[in-house]
């Protein structure tokens, strides 16, 4: 049973090295004073009857029946609003799970009463699957809309299709018979802007006119995007993944996953991608999918009132988001597991997979690319790779790691600049300047003028006899007339050398521009630019190795494996490996990245090179800094995210971290039945603490429970309005039996229902390693510290984060939220 408990609590996290055996963990939980029942129950037989949130959240303490069945408590109505959370606060996972279990118990007991109750229980059991299905459908539909609209608007920068205005370049020339082998893109229905405005298609005048129109469209799309974001939904900017990680770990950001954010993110993502900026749409698609999940979860009371259950739906929704972004359902589930989610029970695994499949199915039936593939980069070659090629693959991994480390440092430095100096005061101007620079520099180079996804596809495609781009301009042996399946390795022609030059310039340009583009105030993702950088580097290395193998085929390593006249090196494979290495270097994903890349490309034979490159890039990147880009942004913003991947290995004790410290004022506590309403209101007004421990009396300092600030204010307000006779000098009673009062004193106020009767406690000599582990595994917000059984102090999540920052020599004042 113990191992089941641990497994259900997210045993996948690998920081669980300090305590290895299951039994000592159980003792730890015992020592904290409460025995928790952590088995995940099935959702069958659940029924949601009422919106009572918080009356019955006393937990089973030592196995006895919960005490809320006392007669006086039954007369109390549930107070609306108790049990909800303020904006920018952390939820209490333990309380939410208890609420859910209470509801489950109540529903189970009522199930046998009548057929109506039975139907209600069935409806509730299936509500989880219904939410996830709706989320998958909505994500797939929105992703299809975004893909089609983005394709069209991107091509709008260069021209327009006169016969049907809604077609992009490729669709316009689809049915035309005038396409030739060398110029597959030209057809008379597609007119560039120069042709329309000045009437001629070639020549310097039309080049300049095309240039000007390109810049005009890019700037207007960027300006539209940033103004829509600023006016309607400021939360729609950025990637969204750092904030979603924080939300899934228990933070509340109201409005971040709302309707307006969803609509604006969808619309402005298309505009941002179409304006030619160096960004992608994968991160924002995850945000869009999570918004859908959040909106649908509000239709079902089981999920709308419980923050912990809602986060299960959000985990599934993020899997659906990655699945439609890449066409990789399994990769999406693994991404949700590895990168985004904090707690990932088995039930969520199955639901995430289902959501990802539904979303992928809907996207496929919309068929945005006209060839029944989900994404653009499907590679179809199956040439083998050789052992000596591992050396350049590992070199690409090193490049990926180095680039990842450089990008994270540079981007965080720039974002910090933007946050604290006056660079950040003009977001609209910043976006326009970045878009202008990008457009001006990108147009002359044919590889940067292309849509980034198309560039990646061109780099991944190997040169066959049917390719005619300048990248495939090899010197052919014209006498070969026999039919061969593979083209042998050939010396490069002039076209290849000029292509390599242009690719090098494109690489430098993209590396620099992405640093400034990630984090501007439009929806911006990071996956596609990183993959483009890696693909360019990989292709250059691939061509270099290919030429080396051709001109020096008598070297030892090539002689073993590459015969003269054989198709030995596939530069497209190097591009794929490079893309995976760069993406791994910047996000530090491992398994999910490999699965995404081989689902993207269909190249199952190439798992070993991919793994080698991804592992190398992760090791090289970790040598410079342990955080990926998302964790670095979380730290930059000061979110209260307790990273499960970091280990805490210092020997401090709980007494060193707890508050109050030596010189601080004493702990603000409430007594069980000695305080009046005025006293409590004064205490709330004078301090800014989020909760107050309740003790029996100031002499004994024995702990009764813990009361939250928000619950206290709401309960007192509601009592003043609804109950008669409650005045400022009424006694507040947290105990079960009111004390005997003189006859003329005002009516006492019973607030036992809002009290948490089983707060977590540790002793002051508990090592901080164990305390950090408890916070991580149980999702606590605060923990009380006792000494010899008497209350001594309190440790909150913010204290823990500050302490960890201090021991890691970072700035502890950067933790802003609690």
């Amino acid at each position: 049973m113990e191992s089941e408990q641990l497994f259900h609590r997210g045993y996948y996290r690998n920081s669980y090295n300090s305590i290895t055996s299951a039994s000592s963990d159980e003792e730890l939980l015992d020592g904290a004073g409460v025995i928790m029942d952590f088995q995940t129950s099935e959702d069958d037989n659940l029924l949601d009857g009422d919106t009572a949130v918080g009356t019955h959240y006393t937990m089973t303490n030592g196995g006895s029946i919960n005490s809320s069945t006392h007669l006086l408590d039954l007369l109390d109505e549930p107070i609306p609003g108790v049990g909800t959370y303020d904006d920018f606060h952390t939820i209490d996972w333990v309380r939410e799970k208890c609420k859910d279990r209470e509801r489950h118990r109540r529903i189970n007991s009522k199930k046998k009463e009548s057929a109506w109750e039975m139907t209600k229980s069935l409806y509730d059991a299936w509500s989880g699957w219904l939410v996830v299905t709706l989320t998958g459908l909505a994500s797939g539909a929105l992703a299809g809309l975004i893909d089609i609209a983005a394709d069209w608007m991107t091509d709008l920068k260069e021209g327009i299709c006169l016969s049907a205005l809604w077609y992009n370049h490729e669709q316009c020339c689809w049915g035309s018979n005038e396409t030739t082998f060398e110029e597959r893109d030209k057809c008379p229905q597609w007119k560039t802007w120069a042709e329309l405005i000045i009437g001629q298609a070639e020549g310097p005048g039309s080049y300049i006119m095309n240039y000007i129109m390109y810049i005009f469209w890019a700037l207007s799309f960027a300006f539209l995007a940033v103004s829509l974001v600023k006016v309607f939904a400021p939360y729609a900017c950025g990637s969204g993944i750092p904030e979603i990680k924080t939300i899934l770990s228990g933070f509340i950001i109201r409005g971040y996953l709302g309707k307006w954010t969803l609509m604006i993110k969808t619309i402005t993502l298309v505009l941002a991608v179409a304006s030619g900026l160096s960004l992608g749409k994968e991160g924002p698609l995850v945000h869009v999918a999570c918004c859908c999940g959040n909106i649908f979860s509000y239709l079902f009371p089981k999920y709308s009132t419980n923050e912990a259950k809602k986060r299960e739906v959000l985990s599934a929704a993020s899997a659906a988001g990655v699945s439609v972004a890449f066409g990789a359902p399994i990769g999406g589930v693994l991404f949700s597991l590895e990168e985004v989610s904090y707690y990932f029970p088995l039930k969520t695994l199955w639901r995430s997979f289902f959501a990802a499949l539904v979303a992928a199915f809907v996207l496929r039936s919309i068929n945005p690319f006209g060839n029944s593939r989900l994404v653009l980069f499907y590679v179809e070659y199956h040439t083998p790779w050789y052992l000596f090629e591992l050396f350049p693959f590992i070199l690409l991994g090193v490049f990926g790691g180095l680039w990842g480390a450089f990008f994270i440092r540079a981007n965080i430095a720039w974002c910090r600049r933007r946050k604290s100096t006056k660079f950040g005061k003009y977001p609209v101007l910043e976006v326009i300047i970045v878009a202008a620079i990008t457009a001006v520099i990108a147009f002359p180079n044919p590889y940067t003028r292309l849509n980034t996804s198309e560039l990646i596809k061109e780099l991944f495609t190997d040169c066959g006899p049917l390719e005619s781009s300048s990248l495939c301009d090899y010197r052919n042996d014209m006498n070969a007339s026999k039919i061969v399946d593979d083209i042998p390795d050939r010396p490069a022609g002039v076209g290849v050398y000029s292509a390599i030059w242009q690719l090098c310039l494109a690489l430098i340009f993209k590396i620099i521009m992405t640093v400034f583009t990630f984090g501007i105030k439009v929806p911006s993702g990071l996956f596609i630019p990183s993959m483009a950088i890696g693909a360019i580097a990989g292709r250059i290395v691939g061509i270099a190795v290919e030429q080396l193998a051709y001109f020096h085929h008598d070297w030892f390593i090539f002689k073993e494996w590459c015969e003269v006249g054989a198709d030995c090196i596939t530069p497209g494979l190097y591009a794929m490996v490079g893309a995976a290495a760069c993406l791994g270097g910047v996000t530090r994903m491992t398994v999910s990245l490999v699965v995404i890349v081989f689902e993207l490309t269909g190249g199952l034979e190439y798992i070993v090179p991919l793994m080698a490159a991804v592992m190398t890039s992760k090791w090289v990147g970790d040598a410079f800094g342990r955080e990926g880009i998302y964790e670095a942004h979380i730290r930059l913003n000061g979110y209260p995210f307790l990273d499960a991947k970091e280990e805490f290995t210092h020997t401090t004790l709980a007494a060193d971290v707890m508050r109050p410290r030596r010189n601080d004022p004493p702990l603000a506590v409430l007594t069980q039945d000695n305080m009046t309403v005025d006293d409590i209101e004064n205490m709330i007004n004078e301090t800014s603490y989020n909760g107050f421990p309740v003790i029996m009396s100031k002499e004994s300092q024995r702990l009764v429970g813990f009361a939250l600030r928000r619950d206290l204010t709401i309960a007192i307000e509601s009592a003043r309005k609804k109950q008669e006779g409650i005045v400022g000098s009424s006694r507040v009673c947290f105990a079960q039996h009111t004390p005997s009062l003189p006859a003329e004193s005002p009516r006492p106020l019973k607030l036992r229902s809002i009290l948490d009767m089983s707060p977590f406690t540790v002793t002051d000599h508990t090592p901080m390693e164990i305390v950090v582990d408890i916070f991580r595994k149980l999702g606590l917000r605060q923990c009380l510290v006792t000494h010899n059984g008497r209350l001594l102090g309190i440790i909150t999540k913010k204290d823990i984060l500050r302490h960890m920052a201090q021991t890691a020599n970072q700035d502890p004042a950067s933790i802003m939220f609690n």
Binding site: G49, T51, P80, G81, K120, L134, L137, A138, A141, G144, L145, I148, A149, W152, A164, W166, Q171, W174, G175, S176, T179, F181, E182, L224, S227, K230, V231, F232, A233, P234, Y235, C237, G255, W260, I264, I267, L299, F300, P301, S365, N367, G370, S372, C415, K419, G424, L466, S481, I483, G519, H633, N637, N685, R709, R710, T713, I714, E717, K721, M816
Partner: protein, 196 residues
């Protein structure tokens, strides 16, 4: 019980709308197999003296090969087999109706949002100033920060009061939305607290 009914009603309406959307989508994709939307594309590389050429034909999937599509055949007799072996033929289909409908939906939503944005930023302040005078404008710009803890409680309890009539509700909802957006704008753009 009433909340359950309300929840069921909302669920029913959303399911109905999404069913409608999905069925129309399925209809679109099914109807999209019209004549111009399928093709077989054969790419043939240069061979001997013939330059490379691309052939397109609206043909069914079982007939999608070199012999049916390449017409007129540029080489004669025994060379046909050699020529056709180098050609690569692929069957492609697309849905032009889906593309048209999607672009029209997207552009209409974008247009509506642009109009609303112009109204909010330019037209509404002018109208408000003319109708209500300057003082009301200042009052509506006040931010109700949560410095006092009991302000939050008022906010929370206000939801349980009886609802005003429809027009007031719309106005109230819009005011609340505008306040929310203002708060968001402050945290993101001014104080750089979230989403730096």
């Amino acid at each position: 019980m009433p909340s359950l009914c309300w929840g069921l009603l909302r669920l029913g309406s959303v399911l109905g709308v999404s069913c409608l959307a999905l069925s129309s989508l399925v209809q679109l994709t099914a109807a999209a197999k019209n004549f111009e939307d399928v093709r077989c594309k054969c790419i043939c590389p240069p061979y001997k003296d013939n330059p490379g050429h691309i052939y397109n034909k609206n043909i069914s999937q079982k007939d999608c090969d070199c012999l049916h599509v390449v017409d007129p055949m540029p080489v004669l007799g025994p060379d046909v087999e050699a020529y056709c072996l180098r050609c690569e033929c692929k069957y492609e289909e697309r849905s032009s109706v889906t593309i048209k409908v999607t672009i029209i939906i997207y552009l209409s939503i974008l247009g509506l949002l642009l109009l609303y944005m112009v109204y909010l930023t330019l037209v509404e302040p002018i109208l408000k100033r003319r109708l209500f005078g300057h003082s009301q404008l200042i009052q509506s710009e006040d931010d109700i920060g949560d410095h006092q803890p009991f302000a939050n409680a008022h906010d929370v309890l206000a939801r349980s009061r009886s609802r005003p009539n429809v027009l007031n509700k719309v106005e109230y909802a819009q005011q609340r939305w505008k306040l929310q957006v203002q708060e968001q704008r402050k945290s993101v753009f001014d104080r750089h607290v979230v989403l730096s």
